[in-house]
């Protein structure tokens, strides 16, 4: 028996029952969507191309920073098709060729692909090699033909290619020998057979190559030197002129290369703009006759009049995004301009040659939380009265995508959710009188209809249409999307932080966005970069009136010693309660296991000078902290030089300003890995909020093993430095992987194991007293998973029943890590078929339920694998007692049961992380997987032993009870009558 307990026979029954079940956790077809939801996103749009042919549906092709190519419906914003390229296959450019192919250039300009526009099937793929790395430029001329074949011109890797649009064959290629030549633009004047490649060489030389588009023959090569050098960006103002800035950013240069003659026209910016301050940057655009420069926060639009003559047409302080030019009619080109002004955005569509005339001028109310417009793409359509209408696709600061048409937002997509960087969960408000609860049913008729349908379904009278209606009713059940806490704790808010620095609260019932909040910009910090999310205040006992809040740590700039910003956000409302601009950097955040009287968690923030700062800065927090001062340690992992250091707090900071919340630290210990043989590739600590039910593990024959449960263990994996190259860069003999378990208080290495012939990447998960890690075995040419379990041997002689009965043991008394632990470890390895993107483990409220590993596979699915398969006590022939305990006979590889994919038929594209949140019901855990897509489901690793299942027939129970009561009454009557008759006899 797994657990021998006299006191909880019920639990025992349940466990027996569960252990006799197979670990498969599958789902019936009609249960899909009841507890899970799936959302598809694409990420921040980099480039958009419209396809609005007369035939076929109107769509827009976009490429995004998540390396997605997608075709979106222009009417509703839905995804027609979508492809996620690999993370190292960054998209450089997209365009549409021949009106039916989507051409993409990716992977640093070395892969050119063509996709079928209607369905997204790949048509062809070409690899473009070149002598050196360079900027990648894609040009799909509309009317350049070589022998009836449309041509794509690609400049990549220092080479110019002409590629056939039909089959991807390279028609000709031309190398640019000059070593330092950096092409900036590839220009193909319409109607000619010439291609101009312009760029800089050796920072002060401008070069122009004129090439015959038919055969790649170099016709002309000119170069000119400008003594003070150039900034890299150029703006193309006509097919024969570009505008650039000199290296100081103060002089505008009009570079014309008409007829192969290069000429410079210098104009100091100060001549154009009197109060210009600071260096300017040019915004790369291609609007004929107009270019945009930016100095500080001022955006200046400059028009080119005549040869080298400039005129400032507009200056604005508002954040502005400008689209490229769109040819609308013969010789006319339009472009769009979007300005952000408070709660509104102003749209303007202008003709390139006529600044003062607006084709369109509108103002649209815009949610403040979307921030400023980042990008705008313009498309036109012909109205019924033959005038031009325009639709604008806008990418906002929070990475959302909006389509604006006729002064209104037609659709919007929250594509910021494609790049989640941190997730935490929060409770919903308690249900109280007066708290508005979602309407249960709309009216009596609907209610009756619903119940009739359900009755039909129960009596199996429902037609397929009715079944579908019942199914949709079940899925849309208002019960699960209420905005209040439920008894089982299934309804929660998932607070997610996206790369754009926006917080979203997602409801676990249906995945809708409850609120969103863009990180506050302050005077001190213009562009905070969100880093991490922590639970700041989780009221549950004596502070129930307070709302829970989260702490967002952000940094004011990309460097690690930039000052940090703390934001405290109320999770019920999404309001920012407070924002602190710190004077110090934030390098480490250590949530402490102490809370103050308002349930605010104490946090220790370590800056780049290794000073620890305590938050919240209250005297109460300080007194709690002082009380535990000598027991608080911290460690830092310097993975670049292979050192793990332990630190202790010393005293108050010594500085010119007295800050009693700042503490000096001292180094306590360090573990130095030899740099020639080991390189840290993974460190995994235990989850801070994990609950462990028991310290004992009962094994066969009622024996006990005591788990070594410590919050302060770190799993570290190192590999041979040679292994960091690609697959095939190292032989099995010179490759190894070393796994360590390190006590982070004392620096003691509890366990060390070397896997020869193994290499990274290592994915690991640490829970209770075990760690599971995944790596590649070069000898076996397979992926492997290993488990290490760690047990406390010093407690093993606590076996006297009477001592235990009378509590005369010290098993629960606090222990210090400085007392030398005697640990033993057990470990085992298994082959595993898939490579892995993420590993997580289920977590439940009390930690009683057995655990499952959640493995994000390379196919972007999440596989649930019972921890019992990764039990180091498995053996080939388990004894009867071990079998009863539930030990599975040892096999060489871990089974992959198709039914145990918790994502069932769905894929979480670009899977990055899996988060588990315990529900209040012990058997159930909530699982959230995020990548480009989001997926959420509930999971019961040992089945729902503590509640009735969804499909439990309450009707049958009721009928049975009624029948039993009736039977009792009838038999009672009968027996009474018989008794009476007996008495009369």
């Amino acid at each position: 028996m797994a657990i021998r307990s006299f006191f909880i026979p019920f639990l025992l029954f349940v466990l027996c029952f569960c252990s006799s079940l197979s670990p498969v956790l599958s789902l019936y077809e009609d249960q899909v969507g009841l507890m899970d939801w799936h959302q598809q996103y694409i990420g921040k749009v980099k480039q958009a191309v419209f396809s609005t042919q007369k035939t076929g549906r109107r769509r827009v092709i976009v490429s995004t920073e998540e390396n997605v190519i997608a075709s979106l419906d222009l009417r509703h914003g839905e995804i027609f098709w979508r492809h996620l390229l690999g993370s190292n296959d960054v998209i450089n450019g997209i365009d549409i060729g021949l009106g039916k192919y989507v051409i993409t250039l990716s992977s640093g300009g070395s892969i050119l692909r063509s996709w079928n526009l209607p369905d997204g099937q790949m048509v062809w793929e070409s690899f473009l090699q070149g002598p050196k790395h360079s900027k990648s430029l894609l040009l799909v001329p509309t009317n350049l033909k070589i022998e009836k074949d449309n041509v794509i011109v690609v400049f990549s890797n220092g080479r110019l290619h002409a590629v056939s649009c039909i089959d991807g064959e390279v028609l000709w290629k031309k190398d640019f020998e000059a070593e330092s030549f950096e092409a900036q633009q590839v220009i193909q004047p319409s109607g000619s057979d010439l291609i101009y490649v312009v760029g800089f060489s050796a920072s002060s030389q401008f070069k122009m190559y004129q090439i015959n588009a038919r055969n790649g023959e170099l016709l002309k090569h000119e170069s000119a030197t400008f003594s003070s050098g150039f900034l890299r960006e150029v703006s193309l103002v006509s097919s024969e002129m570009v505008v650039a800035l000199d290296s100081t950013g103060s002089i505008l240069l009009a570079i014309s290369f008409q007829n192969g003659e290069i000429s410079f026209q210098e104009t100091p910016i100060s001549n154009l703009v009197e109060d210009s301050s600071g260096p300017a940057v040019i915004i790369p655009l291609s609007v004929p006759g107009i270019f945009v420069i930016k100095t500080n926060s001022v955006t200046i639009f400059i028009k080119v009049i005549g040869k080298g003559k400039f005129e400032v047409v507009e200056k604005t302080n508002h954040e502005t995004a400008v689209s490229n030019a769109l040819p609308i009619s013969e010789g006319q080109q339009a472009f769009a301009l979007v300005q952000h002004a408070g709660s509104e955005i102003h749209l303007a569509v202008k003709l390139a040659h006529d600044w003062d005339d607006n084709l369109l001028k509108e103002s649209i109310k815009m949610d403040q939380q979307r921030g400023i417009p980042h990008k705008v793409f313009i498309n036109n359509y012909i109205r019924t009265d033959r005038s031009h209408g325009f639709r604008l696709l806008i990418v906002m600061e929070d990475h959302s995508l909006l389509l604006l048409q006729q002064g209104a937002v037609v659709w919007s997509r929250e594509d910021g959710l494609a790049s989640i960087i941190d997730v935490t969960a929060s409770e919903l408000p308690l249900e109280r009188d007066g708290v508005s609860v979602a309407k249960v049913e709309h009216n009596l008729f609907e209610w009756l209809k619903g119940h009739m349908l359900k009755l039909k379904g129960t009596l199996m009278l429902a037609s397929p249409k009715d079944v579908a209606a019942i199914q949709s009713m079940r899925i849309k059940s208002s019960e699960k999307s209420k905005m209040t806490r439920d008894h089982n704790g299934f309804r929660k808010l998932l607070i997610v932080l996206t790369r754009a620095g926006k917080l979203f609260a997602l409801h676990t019932g249906d995945g809708r966005v409850v609120w969103s909040h863009l990180l506050h910009k302050s005077e001190a910090c213009q562009s905070p970069i969100g880093l991490n999310l922590y639970q700041w205040q989780v009221p549950h006992h004596h502070a129930l009136d307070e709302n829970p809040s989260v702490l967002v740590i952000s940094r004011c700039g990309p460097s690690s010693d930039a000052p940090g910003v703390l934001s405290f956000v109320d999770t019920y409302t999404g309001k920012e309660l407070n924002s602190l601009s710190l004077i110090h950097a934030v390098v480490q955040v250590i949530p402490l296991p102490y809370t103050d009287s308002t349930e605010q968690r104490l946090h220790l923030l370590v800056d780049s000078d290794k000073h620890a700062h305590l938050y919240p800065k209250t005297s109460e927090a300080l007194s709690i902290f002082k009380h535990e001062f000598s027991n608080i340690y911290w460690y830092s992992v310097e993975d670049h030089n292979g050192i793990i250091k332990g630190h202790a707090l010393k005293c108050m900071c010594i500085g010119e300003v007295v800050d009693e919340f700042c503490f000096d630290t001292r180094d306590l210990w360090s573990v130095v890995f030899p740099s020639e043989s080991e390189k840290i590739i993974a460190t995994v600590p235990r989850k801070l909020n994990e609950v462990v039910h028991t310290q004992a593990k009962v094994i066969a024959d009622q024996d006990v093993m005591y788990k070594y449960i410590s919050r302060n263990i770190l799993f570290v994996a190192t590999v041979a430095p040679k292994c960091s190259g690609g697959i095939g860069s190292v032989t099995p003999e010179e490759s190894w992987l070393v796994a360590y378990l390190i006590d982070t208080v004392t620096g003691r290495i509890l366990h060390r194991v070397t896997h020869h012939g193994a290499r990274g990447p290592v994915h690991a998960v640490f829970s209770e007293n075990w760690v599971v890690y995944h790596y590649f075995n070069l000898r076996a040419h397979r992926y492997e998973m290993s488990v290490i379990e760690i047990y406390d041997q010093s407690r093993a002689d606590n076996k006297d029943v009477w001592k235990l009965v009378f509590g005369k043991h010290n098993l629960t008394s606090p222990i210090s890590l400085f007392s030398r632990p005697e640990v033993i470890t057990k470990s085992q390895s298994y082959f595993f078929t898939h490579s892995v993107k993420a590993i997580a483990v289920t977590s439940t409220a009390k930690g009683i339920t057995s655990e499952q590993l959640l493995i994000g596979t390379i196919g972007d699915q999440v596989l649930a694998l019972d921890k019992r398969f990764l039990d180091p006590r498995r053996s080939v022939n388990p004894t009867q007692a071990e079998k009863e305990e539930g030990i599975i006979p040892l096999t060489d590889s871990l089974p992959i049961i198709p039914q145990s994919y918790i994502t069932h038929a769905l894929r979480v594209e670009g899977l990055r992380g899996i988060i588990t949140v315990p529900a209040k019901l012990e058997s159930t855990t909530l699982v959230f997987a995020h990548g480009v897509d989001l997926f959420f489901t509930q999971l019961a690793p040992s089945r729902t032993y503590d509640s009735l299942t969804e499909d439990f027939s309450y009707a049958l129970l009721l009928i049975t009870i009624v029948a039993l009561v009736a039977a009792i009454i009838v038999t009672w009557r009968l027996s009474e009558r018989k008794e009476l008759q007996d008495k009369w006899r």
């Binding site: 657990i3 021998r4 307990s5 006299f6 026979p9 027996c16 880093l531 740590i553 690690s560 934030v586 390098v587 480490q588 955040v589 250590i590 949530p591 402490l592 296991p593 220790l604 370590v606 535990e628 027991n631 608080i632 340690y633 911290w634 460690y635 830092s636 992992v637 310097e638 332990g646 460190t683 600590p685 801070l688 039910h693 028991t694 310290q695 004992a696 009962v698 009622q702 024996d703 006990v704 005591y706 788990k707 449960i709 410590s710 919050r711 302060n712 770190l714 982070t744 208080v745 006297d800 029943v801 235990l804 009965v805 098993l811 629960t812 606090p814 222990i815 210090s816 890590l817 400085f818």
Partner: protein
């Protein structure tokens, strides 16, 4: 014994005495029938009744012993059923074990009642009672033993530590790779 045996009275007044005077005549005023010597009859009568009494108490004692031994059969049957039920925990074995525990307990509670009919000043009930109690205790022990073999008794260390929470650690350490 015969009932309604009349004894003729003298004089006009008569009465029918339905009471049974055969063994203990209530009045001595009635003359004995001729040829009847009371002494011998009395003596005779008393020996008969004594014999009867002896037989009854013997019978009672025998019965009491029988009753006292009855749980033994029960014990054997229980043992057989336990053997049939096996050593795994399921509804059948649990039911049998609990009935095996319940029967001796309820029997022990009603020890007095069981031996009530055989109560007699001359019958020594202590022996049977002790046997009865011993046998029932045996049955109880069998039930407990069965409970133990089923693993439902907290006799191992594992039963006492399986819900012990992990020990608190004095020190706390956090950190990791710089963010």
């Amino acid at each position: 014994m015969e009932k309604g045996k009349g004894v003729m009275g003298s004089g006009q007044r008569w009465a029918v005495d339905f009471s049974d005077n055969s063994t203990a005549p209530s009045s001595r005023d009635i003359l004995d029938p001729l040829g009847f010597t009371r002494a011998s009859v009395d003596q005779d009568d008393s020996t008969v009744s004594r014999q009867k009494k002896d037989a009854e108490s013997n019978w009672k004692a025998q019965k009491a012993w029988e009753v006292a031994q009855a749980p033994f059969k029960n014990l054997l049957m229980m043992g057989f059923m336990m053997w049939m039920a096996g050593n795994t925990v399921h509804l059948f074995s649990i039911g049998i074990t609990f009935s095996a525990l319940w029967q001796p307990i309820s029997a022990l509670q009603g020890v007095g009642k069981v031996f009530e009919p055989y109560k007699d000043s001359k019958v020594e009930l202590l022996g049977p009672k002790l046997l009865f109690i011993a046998l029932n205790l045996g049955g109880l022990a069998l039930g407990v033993w069965k409970l133990n073999t089923l693993g439902l008794l907290p006799t191992h260390a594992s039963d006492w530590v399986s819900s012990l929470p992990p020990a608190q650690e004095v020190e706390y350490s956090g950190g990791g790779i710089p963010i």
